[in-house]
Amino acid sequence: MKATVKLFAIFRELFGAEVKEIELENRSNIQDLLNLLCHSHQRSEEIFNDSGKIRGHIKILKNGRDIRFLDGTRIELEGKQIQFLGGLNAGLEDGDMVVK
């Protein structure tokens, strides 16, 4: 399956592109996508904290919906558009992106 990843603000520089088409195995979720995207130390450090949690200032949308109001990083991709936005959250705690 294929996922389209749109990158905005600081992520354009970090990932060197505005849009990426990523090939994934069927039934992959956003965590799988993140693991694929963050293969370099710099990218990994920007996205995850020392405990492996996604940093609080990072926002990830699936088809325009904040994944924290869906099923966080466990949500399956189904070939949809994923949008990565950085530096737009006001000091949230780092977490697994799921709103309790």
Binding site: K6, F8, A9, I10, R12, E18, H57, K59, L61, G64, R65, D66, R68, F69, Q83, L85, G86, G87, L88, N89, A90, G91, L92, V99
Partner: protein, 447 residues
């Protein structure tokens, strides 16, 4: 009931209690009056450097009432006040007014003026501060214009005293630390300006397009903060005492409008003069924004009113004989010409545009095509995608407004906590909380 443009309407130009200190973002000024567009309370907040100068000149606020016999401006210089003749500047553009007033007073003075839009009593006229900063919304510029009052130059050297300097210093340090720690204020806004929001709001499906006939545009990004940083940005700009520096000092480097320079556009005007009018041409948007500043027009209301005219024209509600040229969505040159006829009140359509979208649409029998509340044009967040901001537009005391109750803080930026933007539950409490916080904390403190 006082007519907003009658002499007995008062206009208050006020600083805040921390103005003149180094409290971050304290250099703001408020213009409070009964709005010419809305007929209800108007409170237009502006950055720049004027407020601290007024405070250092010895005044917390200035109240303008009545009507001068001839056009005047006020020169406030370290406690001395002079009323000066402004006849030769009446109707001139904002940059020229500022230059001449500084020549006549002091080059270090800070100047606010209404430009030609306020003089022509446009109901969407701003008061412009330091040329590029706008006390916008509700037509506050027309109120000053109705009083034959062009503006104020202020210069002060007095030290502003505070009741608890040590407490203020400690609070300022804490605030600066928080601003440094926040990714929004330390990273996104300084790097990309407020237009960093273009992509996120568009991707959320909440970016009104072509007079809100749609709420998403696949190519909206060509007008976003990332593009501005690459194409037109010269350097960042900051208001008094503000460490964020979200302002954009810009220059048009290519195309028909090449060589023009100024500040902005900000997120709201990027949208209103851009995708709201179906325009993707960043250079035309930027030039139209500069023109709004030169005329003293509210960039949000100007763009939304032009979008309204485009829909009226395309649907055949506006007779072709009224229009000086085809008024179609999507053309950057049409956008620029529309701002010009609006600023000049030129012809039938130009005159109606200067009245704002509601009066324009009502004139042609279709007030439902005005995207407004209390006759004030809505800003750049589509209420269909953000339920809280929709409730705020409906209940804000100055009409459709993002500033008096910015629920987007929670619905997009996660402050004070993340909120599902599409849910109705909890939005009444959120809207009330944000409106109360804005009035009780932010405005009262002068931020």
């Amino acid at each position: 009931m006082t007519d907003p443009l009658a002499p007995d309407n008062k206009a208050v130009i006020a600083t805040g209690p921390t103005s003149g200190s180094d409290a971050p973002a304290s250099g703001r000024t408020m213009v409070i009056t009964k709005g010419a567009e809305t007929g209800t309370i108007a409170c237009s907040n502006v950055g720049g450097f004027f407020g601290p100068q007024l405070k250092q000149a010895g005044y917390d606020m200035v109240i303008i009432e009545g009507k001068a016999e001839k056009p005047v401006y006020l020169w406030i210089n370290d406690g001395n006040i002079e009323i000066r003749d402004a006849r030769k500047l009446w109707g001139k553009k904002t940059t020229q007014i500022e230059e001449v007033i500084k020549q006549e007073t002091d080059q270090k003075a800070r100047v606010m003026n209404i430009g030609p839009a306020g003089v022509k009593l446009s109901r969407i006229a701003n008061v412009m501060f330091d040329v590029h900063r706008a006390a916008g919304r509700s037509g506050v510029g027309a109120v000053l214009g109705s009083k034959n009052f062009l503006g104020i130059a202020a210069k002060g050297t007095k030290k502003v005293e505070f009741a608890d300097p040590a407490g203020l210093k400690a609070a300022n340090s804490k605030a600066r630390k928080l601003l440094k720690e926040s990714a929004i204020t330390s990273q996104s806004l300084p790097t990309y300006g407020t237009s960093v929001l273009v992509n996120i709001i568009n991707e959320a499906g909440g970016y009104p397009v072509r007079n809100a006939q749609d709420a998403y545009d696949a190519n909206a990004g060509v007008t976003g903060g990332e593009e501005i940083a690459e194409k037109t940005l010269i350097k960042k700009g900051a208001c008094a005492a503000c460490p964020i520096a979200c302002g954009r000092v810009t220059e048009i480097r290519e195309g028909k409008y090449k060589g023009h320079h100024g500040e902005g556009p900000e997120y709201e005007t990027t949208w209103a003069l851009g995708l709201m009018c179906g325009v993707h041409d960043l250079n035309a948007i930027t030039y139209a924004h500069y023109l709004c500043n030169e005329y003293g027009l509210d960039g949000i209301s100007a763009g939304v009113t032009i979008a309204c005219a485009m829909e009226l024209y395309e649907k055949g509600y506006m007779p072709k004989k009224d229009a000086p040229f085809p008024i179609m969505f999507g053309d950057g040159d049409t956008l620029v010409k529309m701002v010009q006829i609006m600023g000049e009140r030129e012809g039938i359509v130009g005159n109606l545009l200067a009245e704002g979208s509601y009066r324009l649409a009502e004139h042609y029998g279709h007030p439902e095509l005005s995207m407004s509340v209390k006759k004030q044009e809505m800003p750049a967040y589509d209420p269909r995608a953000f339920k809280g901001i929709g409730l705020n537009y409906a209940t804000s005391n100055r009409g459709a407004c993002h500033v008096r109750g910015y629920t987007i803080a929670a619905e997009v930026l996660d402050w004070p906590e993340p909120v599902d933007r599409l849910k109705y539950e909890g939005k009444a409490a959120l809207t009330k909380h944000v409106q109360d916080f804005t009035a009780g904390a932010i405005d009262s403190a002068g931020y």
